[in-house]
């Protein structure tokens, strides 16, 4: 429908112009690149560029910022320590949650298929709780976080081998309310 | 004439005799010879004891010859050993002497060194003495003058002593005379005592002679007795040797039997082991005993668990193992007497080793 496309393009151009007036040049370019992409909103599997400056919390339209963040955090085998590559995005989530007390999340912990099921339930919970503690340290209230473990029961990748296993050892961060 | 009254009895008598003969005839002519069955396991052979004796004697000679040979070998060995010992002793001596020489030389050297030291010391001493001598001469001159004065005093004292000594000498002479008289009296007493003692000695000597003669007789009799005993002992020894020979033969036979029994035992164990399926319920420490009775052919007469392991599967596996052998064929090769006495009934103890649990 060419008409609706034209309307969309107009509104985008207007909002671009409006934001350009408030933000620094770097944010403008970033917004450009992300908005020029997919039509739908948050794709939870995008990987952050590691450039945190774009999410300095100043933007009032925070939903879009959080939508760009990682929501899946991976772990090493039989380990529940938060990895370095998770820290930046977690801090960003923490800042958002701290500034939006009505927002709440659910942390879902998982393990890979190796070992016994109930022990893996406990491992999944440990990982979820590690993320929860990290967020708490960064100012998130406990009431905003719910944790649950699925152990090895809900893998994202079926099959065996380090490739599959490393993708299943994860905690998924899901917004229950924003 | 009552001949008529005799006819009937005569006829009857004849009839009786004919009947008897008729009855006996078939028995005489149809008697079969029952075949004589010799029981299988009695295999008797006549043994001539005289020949045994000569055999025994032969074997004795062989044994003695062997012993002599053994003894010669032993002596040779001993001599060789002694030679070796002597050589070793000489070597040791030589070694010792060498050591002594070394030690002597060492000591000699030491002594030389010491003498040198002494000589040097003496020289030093002599020098010192020379100095001292001069000093002494001067001292002696002084002393000589003093001594002259003392000498005069000493002579005066001496004269006085001589007079006193003369008087003492006379007193001593009187004492000696009295002592001589005493000694003479004592000598007389001693001679009398000696005579008495000699008389007693003669009596004692006579008594001793008599005793000696009696002892000799006793010894002669004892000697005779001992001779008689020795002869008897030699006879007994000879008989004992014969018995010992027989014993050796018997023992050899027993050894052979033992060996047969041992061989059969390991045969039985290997036959059963090859066929024993140890069940899944078998555990270390389990044990069952089966009593197996065999026929002389080696076939199984019966198998029975006489001591259970407490596990049904284990007991069954033990019985099955024996049944699977079927026939212990080597039994038929064994002397039937030995088999019957020692090998017919076998207690098989199943005691598994090396199980996982």
């Amino acid at each position: 429908m060419r008409a609706s496309n034209a309307v969309k393009a107009l509104t985008l151009a207007v909002s671009v112009a409006w934001i350009a007036g408030c933000s620094s040049p770097s944010t403008l370019s970033e917004d450009d690149s992300s908005m020029g992409g997919s039509a739908t909103g948050s794709s939870s599997n995008t990987y952050g560029t590691g450039d945190a400056s774009g999410v300095s919390g100043m933007g009032t339209d925070g939903n879009l910022d959080v939508a760009n963040l990682k929501t899946v955090f991976y772990f090493d085998f039989d380990d529940s320590t938060v990895r370095a590559d998770s820290v930046a995005d977690l801090e960003a989530h923490a800042q958002y949650l701290a500034s939006h007390p009505s927002a709440s999340i659910r942390l879902e912990g998982h393990a890979d298929e190796r070992g016994t099921r109930e022990y893996n339930m406990a491992l999944g919970e440990r990982r979820a709780k590690a993320i929860e503690r990290f967020l708490a340290v960064n100012g998130v209230s406990g009431a905003q976080v719910e944790t649950i473990s699925y152990g090895e029961e809900k893998p994202v990748v079926l099959g065996s081998g380090d490739g599959s296993w490393s993708q299943n050892r994860r905690v998924e961060l899901k917004y229950v309310s924003r | 004439m009552r001949i008529r009254s005799y006819i009937l009895p005569v006829v009857l008598a004849l009839l009786v005799h004919i009947c008897v003969v008729l009855l006996l005839v078939p028995h005489w002519f149809q008697q079969k010879q029952d075949p004589r069955q010799t029981p299988r396991h009695i295999q008797a052979t006549m043994i001539d004891l005289k020949s045994l004796a000569t055999e025994v004697a032969n074997q004795q000679q062989i044994a003695e010859a062997k012993e002599e040979a053994a003894q010669k070998q032993a002596e040779q060995a001993r001599q060789a050993a002694e030679l070796e010992k002597q050589e070793q002793a000489e070597q040791a001596r030589q070694a010792q002497e060498a050591e002594r020489k070394q030690q002597a030389e060492a000591q000699a050297q030491k002594k030389k060194l010491e003498e040198q030291k002494r000589q040097e010391a003496q020289k030093k001493l002599e020098e010192q003495k020379a100095k001292e001598a001069q000093q002494k001469k001067e001292a002696e001159q002084k002393k000589a003058e003093q001594e002259k004065a003392k000498a005069k005093e000493l002579e005066d004292a001496r004269i006085k002593k001589e007079k006193a000594d003369a008087a003492a000498a006379e007193a001593e002479k009187k004492q000696l005379a009295e002592e001589a008289k005493k000694k003479a009296a004592e000598k007389q007493k001693q001679e009398a005592a000696q005579k008495a003692a000699e008389a007693e000695k003669l009596k004692a000597a006579e008594a001793a002679k008599k005793k000696a003669e009696a002892d000799k007789q006793r010894k002669a009799e004892e000697a005779k007795r001992k001779e008689a005993e020795r002869v008897a002992a030699e006879k007994a020894a000879a008989e004992a040797k014969q018995k010992a020979e027989l014993e050796k033969r018997r023992q050899a036979a027993l050894e052979k039997n033992k060996q047969t029994v041992a061989d059969f035992s390991s045969y039985v164990v290997s036959e059963i082991s090859r066929r024993w399926i140890r069940p899944a319920t078998a555990r270390n420490g389990m044990q069952a005993t089966a009593l197996v009775v065999l026929f002389p052919s080696g076939e199984i007469d019966s198998v029975e668990i006489v001591q259970s392991s407490g596990d049904l599967g284990f007991d069954r596996s033990a019985e099955n193992a024996v049944y699977k052998v079927g026939r212990f064929s080597r039994a038929s090769e064994i002397d039937p007497v030995l088999f019957d006495r020692n090998l017919r009934r076998i207690k098989v103890i199943f005691r598994p080793e090396g199980l996982r649990y």
Partner: protein, 428 residues
């Protein structure tokens, strides 16, 4: 007369005074006992089950017997007169089973079975079993139990059931989970519970009447107790955090379970009648997967308090803690045999996760499987077989191994990935 008797007696004594030879056999072959289960004769009947084949498979799976291959049988006798024991002995069998199936009153079916000792050429057992055409499998399992018991002295476990979980992926991240029950050989499966959310840790009560399991159907993990006869179930009190690993006490009055409400996974004991909860472990590490000892006096559980998971035993009256596993860096999910002597577990070594057995009498550890993704061992009530979950060709399947590791088998394929088997106790 007296003298005559005495002398005769003495003579007899002399005659029987033989020495018994004594020998000792210590070595043999460690193998299952060979048995032939001859196909049953079915006179004028078209049966939908091959009873002799079920019996043969049962006996083989137990690890105690090696059934003869049908194709090697020279004949198929069905009565004693037709049996030439020598033939069966020569073909290597210690025992054989023959049988005849005939119609009986009320549309029922009668199976006359005989068990023979081939070596002694003697009958060991015979019986006539009556059944319906739709429960011939139960008839077959009954026969297997009898044969097993007559030859080993142990109670057969062929008429028992197993419970397990299947998971089928519909779309990525979207699964259908089922809790199913089947015969001990995997036949006749039926669904007890179906859910979109995970089901795990099914556990039989000791009397075989109830199942406890964990279900996420309420969006959080919760423990349920379900009565099998009626299908009625009850959710056990749930807490924040983990609710898992239910284990029945031998007398059925209590459940050991795992809760993380106090900060980290700990083992608790719940008295079902009163709801009273007793905390049993107090350590910041993970304590999970409890199981009761057969005498009910102690609980075994998995704990990683020493770094990686190992199995510990806690004596309930004295609260004395003892570590049981020292070999290997990862030992978890322990289960005990009914006599309390053997502990089966998941053991990790350089080549993966295997099922292992530890003899608690000697602490000897034996690894029974060579596959590398094994889990969830469960033991038959007579201790003969351990069933477990593994992966074959990328798919989850159930497999079994005998306690001594001699015999292994795989269960028939299920609907999706099969996991978490739980073996029932003896059932009436």
């Amino acid at each position: 007369m007296k003298k005559w008797f005495i002398s005769a007696f003495l003579m007899m004594m002399a005659v029987t005074a033989r020495a018994d030879l004594v020998v000792e056999v210590t070595q043999g072959v460690d193998a299952p006992t060979p048995i032939a289960v001859v196909p049953f004769q079915a006179t004028g009947l078209a049966l939908n089950e091959d009873i002799a084949q079920i019996v043969s498979d049962d006996l083989g799976r137990s690890g105690f017997f090696k059934p003869m291959n049908r194709s090697n049988m020279l004949g198929t006798p069905s009565t004693e007169e037709q049996v030439f024991f020598r033939d069966w002995r020569v073909s290597g069998n210690d025992y054989m089973v023959i049988g005849r199936v005939a119609p009986a009153a009320n549309g029922q079916v009668q199976a006359s079975v005989e068990l023979y000792d081939v070596l002694k050429e003697r009958k060991v057992w015979s019986e006539t079993v009556t059944g319906n055409s739709n429960n011939l499998r139960d008839v077959a399992h009954y026969i297997s139990d009898q044969v097993f018991e007559k030859l080993t002295g142990l109670k057969g476990a062929f008429s028992t059931r197993i419970v397990y979980v299947t998971a089928k992926m519909n779309t990525p991240g979207n699964f259908t989970y089922k809790l199913q029950m089947a015969d001990s050989d995997g036949a006749r499966p039926r669904t007890i519970l179906q859910s979109k959310e995970p089901i795990l840790s099914p556990a039989w009560s000791q009397d075989g009447s109830k199942l406890a399991y964990v279900s996420f159907e309420s969006s959080r993990p919760a423990i349920y107790v379900q009565e099998l006869a009626t299908g009625q179930r009850q959710k056990v009190q749930t807490f924040r955090g983990l609710n898992g690993s239910p284990a029945w006490s031998p007398d059925g009055s209590r459940l050991a379970l795992v809760l993380s409400k106090d900060g980290n996974p700990e083992v608790y004991i719940l008295t079902l009648a009163t709801g009273q909860l007793d905390r049993v472990t107090h350590h910041y590490g993970i304590d999970t997967e409890p199981t009761w000892a057969p005498d009910g006096q102690s609980i075994l559980f998995t704990s990683d308090r020493a770094g990686l998971p190992q199995i510990y035993s806690l004596n309930l009256p004295t609260r004395e803690l003892k570590r049981l596993t020292y070999e290997g860096k990862y030992n978890s999910r322990g289960r005990l045999t009914q006599d309390g002597r053997f502990l089966t577990m998941v053991h990790q070594d350089g080549s993966g996760f295997h099922i292992a057995v530890q003899d608690l009498k000697t602490n000897r550890l034996d690894i029974l499987t060579s596959s590398s993704l094994d889990e969830s061992p469960t033991i038959a009530p007579n201790g003969s077989i351990i069933m477990y979950a593994t992966k074959k060709g990328g798919k989850g399947v159930l497999a079994g191994v005998s306690l001594d590791g001699r015999v292994r088998f795989t269960m028939p394929n299920g609907d999706g990935d099969v996991r978490e088997p739980a073996w029932s106790p003896y059932l009436q």
